[in-house]
């Protein structure tokens, strides 16, 4: 079935501003479902969704699962360990076998960039990219956009800075595409060794120093610094990272305005973000998590062929 998003959601690069806004508009009324006593509507009843996770994930997998269950889909979780994947089965064989069991959608998380597209081109089911390597994590990008839009209204001209390991971050790429399409001004800030060499060509500003980024921005989206980056020699130490690039209360207090603080999680408190920032009054980190479920419900609904104007009806269970 093909809805307004097409067959698959592989990344925000391929979406138009209009399509992105439709997802955000669809998600907004669906938020209410999660606030009910009985958090379930029959919208996707009878649909089978496979959550195919080739990489460890807690937040994203649970968020998808809640979204699926609250829309009454039947779900199966497949992790790379304990399945035929760990016995050396190729991605394409895994996918074909799943499809032979007659499923409707696959949510895939995979360490290789392009894995979601690879799968999407080879099976008929809808494919949702839940993070592919260093490429994209579109539902994370969408939930970040929704969180920003909830606070700012229109994002046009708003100044958002993505801070940290942009080089290895799929969240950063989805944010860059999504934000620029909605007309925001986007910057990145981090050690040059963790920024792609050609990052300016993606239409973003670059700040060498976090102080300059804080002075410029209206919101910071702070990326997780992964321990492996130190081992691979991209930066000297976590300690120095925090000293030079950490988002601290002292640095934020010197800003000319109050900044909205986002983080896709899981956080390294005391490394890329200090606890009093993460837990401070301008942090919307938990709003992001809440919005994540609504965004994923919206994506599932739209990919299943649901019409955006009927989302409000859908949540009542009529469609």
């Amino acid at each position: 079935m093909k809805g307004i998003l097409g067959k698959d959601l592989l990344g925000l690069e391929q979406l138009t501003a209009e399509q992105i806004n439709v997802v955000l508009d669809t998600a907004t009324p669906l938020k209410e479902i999660s606030l009910r006593q009985i958090k379930k509507v029959p919208t996707l009843r009878g649909m089978t969704i496979v959550n195919l996770f080739f990489e460890a994930s807690t937040r994203t997998r649970i968020s998808f699962e809640f979204a699926e269950k609250r829309l009454s889909a039947d779900t199966v979780n497949v992790a790379s360990t304990g399945s035929s994947v760990s016995k050396g089965e190729t991605l394409v064989d895994t996918a074909r076998n799943l499809e032979a069991m007659k499923i409707d959608m696959v949510v895939i998380r995979h360490p290789a960039s392009g894995a979601a597209q690879f799968l999407a081109e080879r099976i008929e089911s809808n494919v949702i990219n839940a993070g592919d390597g260093m490429h994209e994590h579109p539902t994370q990008g969408l939930l970040d956009l929704l969180t920003l839009r909830d606070r700012f209204g229109d994002l046009k001209g708003r100044r958002i800075c993505i801070v940290g390991d942009v080089l290895h971050s799929r969240v950063a790429r989805s944010n860059i595409w999504g934000l620029t399409k909605l007309g925001a001004e986007v910057a990145v800030c981090g050690p040059r060794s963790l920024l792609p060499n050609a990052i300016e060509e993606m239409g973003v500003k670059v700040f060498q120093r976090i102080e300059e980024a804080i002075e410029w921005a209206e919101a910071l989206n702070i990326l997780r610094l992964q321990l492996e980056r130190m081992e691979a020699g991209y930066i000297p130490s976590q300690r120095e990272y925090n000293r030079v690039f950490g988002v601290t209360r002292e640095r934020l207090e010197r800003a000319p305005r109050e900044l909205l603080i986002l983080h896709p999680g899981p956080m390294n408190r005391g490394v890329e973000i200090d606890s009093d920032v993460a837990d401070g009054p301008h942090s919307v980190i938990l709003d992001q998590v809440t919005n994540g479920v609504a965004i994923r419900m919206a994506v599932l609904y739209l990919l299943s062929g649901g019409r955006p104007e009927q989302a409000i009806v859908a949540k009542a269970g009529v469609v």
Binding site: L91, G114, D132, E136, A198, E201
Partner: protein, 433 residues
């Protein structure tokens, strides 16, 4: 078939292009007993001779590709010397140099002899073995280069990986001087390139793939030029892909250093944009680069900085390419598309003249690698390529003689195609009409 009882072959009325003799004129080429008997002008038809009408076609000395991977011994499931040599013949090549990254590595006289014999038994294009520079291509111990030359090795390389030790490369360059054979380098600084699967640039940033910077290649190009300067040895640069590499080779040649260089057909025709959509048939090492690099490589060919056109023919199993991009192997099959690609991107565009093209695909490979052939002069090897430089055709991988189907040119229109390939006076390939 012994050469003595062979029927004469008259290639009649073609445009005979032989830069080795400064020849470019309509005429005939007569082959007798496996050799060129006469060349140029209207020669008349000897009694009993087979006559091939070559009107409208180019008749050139046999083309030689000095950089192919034929996978035997070790990966006969993806290519054998026979299927590879057949593929070469179908692409208009009368000779190929087979890289030694086989399993086991071609690093000793027995394996070199095996490759040579398999090539002779195949009976298509001639197969000239490469030997490895180091034992097992491990970059540690110099292999027995002299023994391998005795068994038929024509050059040395650890292609597929660089010789990381500058000392070992220096030694190889010095030692190989005795045997007058080139030492060919796969230029890649692994500390910069490791884990990379495409060119480093905006495309790799977008796709979230680790990039291989141009400098990974260029650092080795200049290192090896300097080592050739120090040793007086002959360094040959495999598959150059960047603008900087062309400039560095030009620098070396200007100083009289014995450096030669090759470029692959895909690197003068396709950019990194081919990777879009994670197309594993556009994954090779060195990776496809940018239009600026293509421009520089084409200029380098035109001004002689780059000597040779090659394919880096690298067949892979369908399953190996049918997977996640970063995990797919490097390389494409090239033998059956190279002539068409070169005619389309170099000849049709006017980047090279016909003489320059034939020089880069035939005369210079023979000269640089000290191989027989590369000329139609009387008495030389009866290896000839007959091709149509403008014929339009569409690439269909299913038609390849190679076992490999991994090509980025599938479905594309090319202009220029081999029509017949003659090796030692035998027609080993004739294109379907």
């Amino acid at each position: 078939m012994s050469a003595a009882n062979m029927r004469d072959l008259l290639l009649k009325g073609g445009r005979v292009v032989d830069p080795s003799q400064g020849l470019d004129a309509v005429g005939d080429v007569l082959l007798r007993n496996g050799k060129i008997e006469a060349c140029g002008g209207a020669l008349g038809t000897p009694d009993g001779a087979e006559v091939m009408d070559c009107s409208g076609l180019v008749v050139s000395p046999g083309m030689i590709d000095v950089h192919v991977h034929l996978r035997e011994p070790g990966r006969e499931d993806v290519e054998t010397i026979k299927t590879g040599a057949h593929s070469a013949a179908a692409g208009g090549f009368t000779g190929v140099c087979a890289m030694p990254n086989t399993k086991p590595v071609t690093d000793n006289q027995a394996t070199v002899g095996f490759v040579k014999r398999q090539g002779e038994a195949a009976g298509y294009a001639r197969v000239y073995p490469y030997g490895a520079i180091s034992l097992g291509q491990k970059g540690e111990t110099l292999a027995e280069l002299g023994e391998m030359v005795g068994a038929g090795a024509v050059a040395f390389s650890d292609d597929g990986r660089p010789v990381e030790s500058a000392h070992l490369m220096r030694t190889a360059l010095e030692y190989a001087r005795t045997f007058n054979v080139p030492v060919a380098e796969h230029c890649e600084d692994m500390s910069l390139a490791r884990g990379g699967s495409m060119n480093e640039g905006v495309m790799s940033a977008r796709l979230g793939l680790k990039g291989i910077p141009a400098e990974a290649e260029e650092i080795y190009v200049i290192r090896d030029i300097l080592l050739a300067k120090r040793t007086g040895g002959h360094i040959h640069m495999c598959h150059l892909s960047t603008r900087g590499s062309v400039e560095l080779v030009r620098w070396g040649k200007e100083r009289g250093i014995h450096v030669t260089a090759e470029v692959c057909s895909h690197h003068i025709s396709l950019t990194e944009d081919e990777v879009e959509g994670y197309n594993t048939n556009a994954k090779m090492n060195p990776p496809l680069r940018t239009q600026s690099d293509i421009d520089a490589l084409q200029e380098g060919l035109a001004d002689g900085t780059i000597d040779l056109l090659v394919t880096d023919h690298a067949p892979h199993h369908y399953d190996e390419k049918e997977r996640e991009f970063a995990d797919a192997p490097n390389g494409i099959v090239g033998l059956e598309t190279a002539l068409g690609v070169n005619c389309t991107w170099l000849l049709k565009t006017g980047v090279l003249t016909m003489t320059q093209l034939v020089n880069a695909m035939s005369c210079l490979p023979a000269k640089v690698f000290h191989l027989p052939g590369g000329t139609l002069s009387a008495g030389s090897l009866g290896d000839v390529t007959v091709f149509d430089p403008v014929r339009e055709w569409t690439v269909n991988a299913a038609d390849f003689k190679s076992k490999g189907r991994n090509t980025p040119y599938g479905g594309r229109k090319l202009f220029g195609q081999a029509r017949a390939t003659v090796v030692g006076g035998h027609v080993v390939y004739r294109a379907p009409s």
